[in-house]
């Protein structure tokens, strides 16, 4: 009974601490989804591969989204012709390199500030390197799912034609049109993929935008909240049900602790805004390096994320991402355990 009480208290404590951050996270991601224009952003990105990867990794500051929100944004970036390095860097780093996640990690690991900074530095390092590596494939096309790749090519000639200006009246563009009420035109032959290209909600009025922000918040809360509930339940169960000797045996090993936490990160799929609280419940029994591995690897790759990634990339590309990210996370975490821990 005591076990059960401890477990429940732990579970509720994780939820109550995490929910405010989840709220902030979804509020930001919903707001920015509707008010930041990626098309303009893409046009000012650096062409140099390394710089591009770095800028892409840092772009999370503009899009404080966790890993469920960043895949759709990354997909829009790719389709709109952002360089490979930028897109990959953004994809991997955005869930971690953003103010909300930094704050949440700071709250959780106030006692070990090195974890907070190492999380940012290591994520930046990994995301930039992988973005750089991927940029050696000049055309990202073969890595993309067919429908995403097609939408890129459909988009290209149009971009050249319009000279990058998206404000051109649709009547000046070629195609078949219907005149609808209010002088608006409806293009009948718009490629289906164009819906992926433009962020479709930016053209809405401020009032309906607000409505959409709330709708989006509720939807993300529902989805991420449910995952958070499962994550917290797993963390609480491991805390009370697994004997301390077992946890310590696993958690104090230099390499075993890192592997265990990375496996946990992959399975638990907890949102990056709140994963630091999850990690915190292991702080007394696991090595610093393993906590760090959890915090840098989890937001990049996990079961939920793999599902999302596969909607954009081919299996092979996702495998490369997974392999590179896991190896680099492991190496960095091991270095922390060996030289800093």
């Amino acid at each position: 009974m005591v076990h059960l009480n401890t477990g429940f208290t732990l579970f509720l404590s994780l939820l109550v601490e995490a929910v405010p951050f989840l709220l902030i996270g979804v509020a930001f991601s919903s707001l920015l989804l509707f008010f930041v224009n990626e098309q303009q952003l893409v046009s000012v990105l650096p062409k140099n591969a390394f710089l591009g990867a770095l800028v892409g990794s840092l772009m999370g500051v503009l899009f404080p989204v966790c890993e469920c929100g960043n895949v759709p944004v990354a997909r829009r970036l790719i389709v709109q012709g952002a360089p490979t390095a930028v897109s990959i860097g953004f994809l991997l780093a955005a869930p971690t390199i953003n103010p909300v996640v930094f704050w949440a990690t700071w709250v959780a690991f106030r006692g070990q500030p090195e974890v907070v900074f190492l999380r940012v530095i290591c994520t930046l390092l990994i995301a930039t390197s992988i973005g750089w590596v991927f940029s050696y494939q000049p055309d990202i096309g073969p890595f993309l799912q067919e429908n995403v790749a097609r939408s890129r090519f459909r988009d290209r000639p149009k971009r050249n034609l319009t000279g990058g200006s998206s404000n051109q009246p649709s009547l000046l563009q070629g195609g078949t049109f219907l005149q609808v009420a209010g002088g608006e035109t409806l293009q009948l032959d718009t490629p289906a993929a164009q819906r992926l290209v433009a962020n479709p909600v930016q053209a809405q009025s401020p009032v309906s935008k607000l409505q959409l922000v709330v709708d989006n918040m509720v939807r993300e809360l529902r989805e991420l909240g449910a995952v958070l509930v499962f994550g917290s339940a797993i963390a609480a169960t491991v805390q009370v049900a697994v004997p301390r000797e077992t946890i310590l045996g696993l958690g104090q090993g230099m390499a075993s602790s890192i592997l265990a936490m990375m496996a946990l990160a992959t399975v638990v799929s907890i949102c990056s805004t709140v994963d630091s609280f999850f990690a915190l419940s292991f702080a007394s029994t696991f090595t610093t390096g393993s906590l760090l591995a959890f915090l840098i690897f989890g937001p990049m790759i996990d079961l939920k994320n793999i599902g999302l990634l596969l909607t954009v990339f081919t299996g092979r590309a996702v495998f490369y991402l997974f392999a590179l990210a896991s190896l680099m996370s492991f190496a960095l975490a091991l270095a922390v355990n060996l030289y800093l821990g």
Binding site: V2, N5, T6, F8, T9, L10, L12, S13, L14, L15, V16, E17, V19, P20, L23, L33, C68, V71, P72, A108, R110, G111, Q112, L186, Q187, L188, T190, P191, A192, R195, A198, N199, P200, V201, S208, Q211, L212, V214, D215, M217, V218, R219, L221, R222, E223, G225, A226, V229, F230, A235, Q239, R244, S269, F277, L280, A283, S284, T288, L308, T311
Partner: protein, 280 residues
């Protein structure tokens, strides 16, 4: 904005010409109501911990405001959604356009109703269940120590915390951690409160006056304690987990083969569990 006709035809609910065919006045939007219910119950649960004071069992007080604001925001969200449902069922399906549009931007892992149900049941559970403060059993599980290990919050500055009799258990532990020589504290006055814990390795006649320390939330609560030297050799004279207020002086003792500080009590009172059982 430009939309393909195909995507339009996927949304029959959206045809402005034929509003009446949608649903019918008595069909309730269950899914949206489930959302409202889940949001509202979460808010109610957070309000309950806030007003009932049980939030202190879960969180560091510095972060209570976060949870409290979340309670308010969730309540507002629920109210807004409810208002939206009422308006939508009264009038057009204006919002449906936006919903479907942004649904294209969003890929979900779990089925929608399932997520809502999970959230709702957890919030109902949170409304019924009263959190319990951690006790000795958790202390054993988490490995009670009288010296903070390296994974713990390090003191940011070295200050001899107030007068000796005003130091709490964690104040003492931090102090001893910085300067471990037990003789330095000989004869200093002690007045601490904590729960009773009997470490397995200690002989009869000793108990540990323990507290849990929080840096963020209950998930990282860790136990600390000071040894208390009793007059009797009776096993467990005070029940495990009962709360004591102890006054006395510090002495040096040898426990677990190590010299360390211990309290020689002049008075031991049994007290109620404090409203806020943790230290920070």
């Amino acid at each position: 904005m430009v939309r393909s006709p195909r995507s339009e035809s996927n949304r029959p609910a959206n045809r402005p010409t034929n509003r009446r065919s949608v649903g019918g006045p008595l069909r309730l939007p269950w899914r949206d109501l489930l959302d409202v219910l889940a949001l509202g119950t979460w808010s109610a649960m957070l309000f309950r911990y806030w007003i009932g004071g049980k939030l202190l069992l879960l969180l560091h007080p510095d972060y209570a405001w976060l949870s409290n604001s979340a309670a308010i925001i969730l309540a507002l969200l629920a109210a807004y959604r409810l208002l939206g449902i009422v308006q939508t069922s009264r009038r057009s399906q204006r919002t449906a356009t936006g919903r479907n549009l942004s649904a294209e931007n969003h890929i979900t892992l779990l089925p929608r109703n399932f997520s809502s149900a999970v959230l709702l049941s957890v919030a109902v559970f949170g409304l019924i269940y009263t959190p319990q403060a951690f006790a000795s059993q958790t202390a054993t599980q988490r490995g009670i120590t009288d010296t903070l290990t390296l994974t713990r919050a390090q003191p940011q500055r070295f200050a001899r915390a107030a007068a000796p009799e005003e130091r709490t258990v964690i104040d003492w532990i931090r102090l001893v951690n910085v300067y471990p020589e037990p003789d330095a504290y000989e004869d200093e006055a002690v007045a601490v409160e904590g729960f009773v814990f009997y470490p397995e390795s200690w002989p009869a006649g000793y108990l540990m006056v323990s507290r849990f320390v929080l840096t963020c939330c209950a998930a990282d609560a860790y136990p600390v304690g000071l040894p208390l030297k009793l007059d009797t050799n009776e096993a467990e004279p005070y029940p495990v987990d009962s709360w004591l207020a102890v006054t006395g002086t510090m002495v040096t003792d040898t426990l677990d083969g190590r010299r360390q500080v211990a309290i020689a009590p002049t008075e031991i009172r049994t007290i109620e569990e404090p409203k806020n059982p943790y230290e920070y």
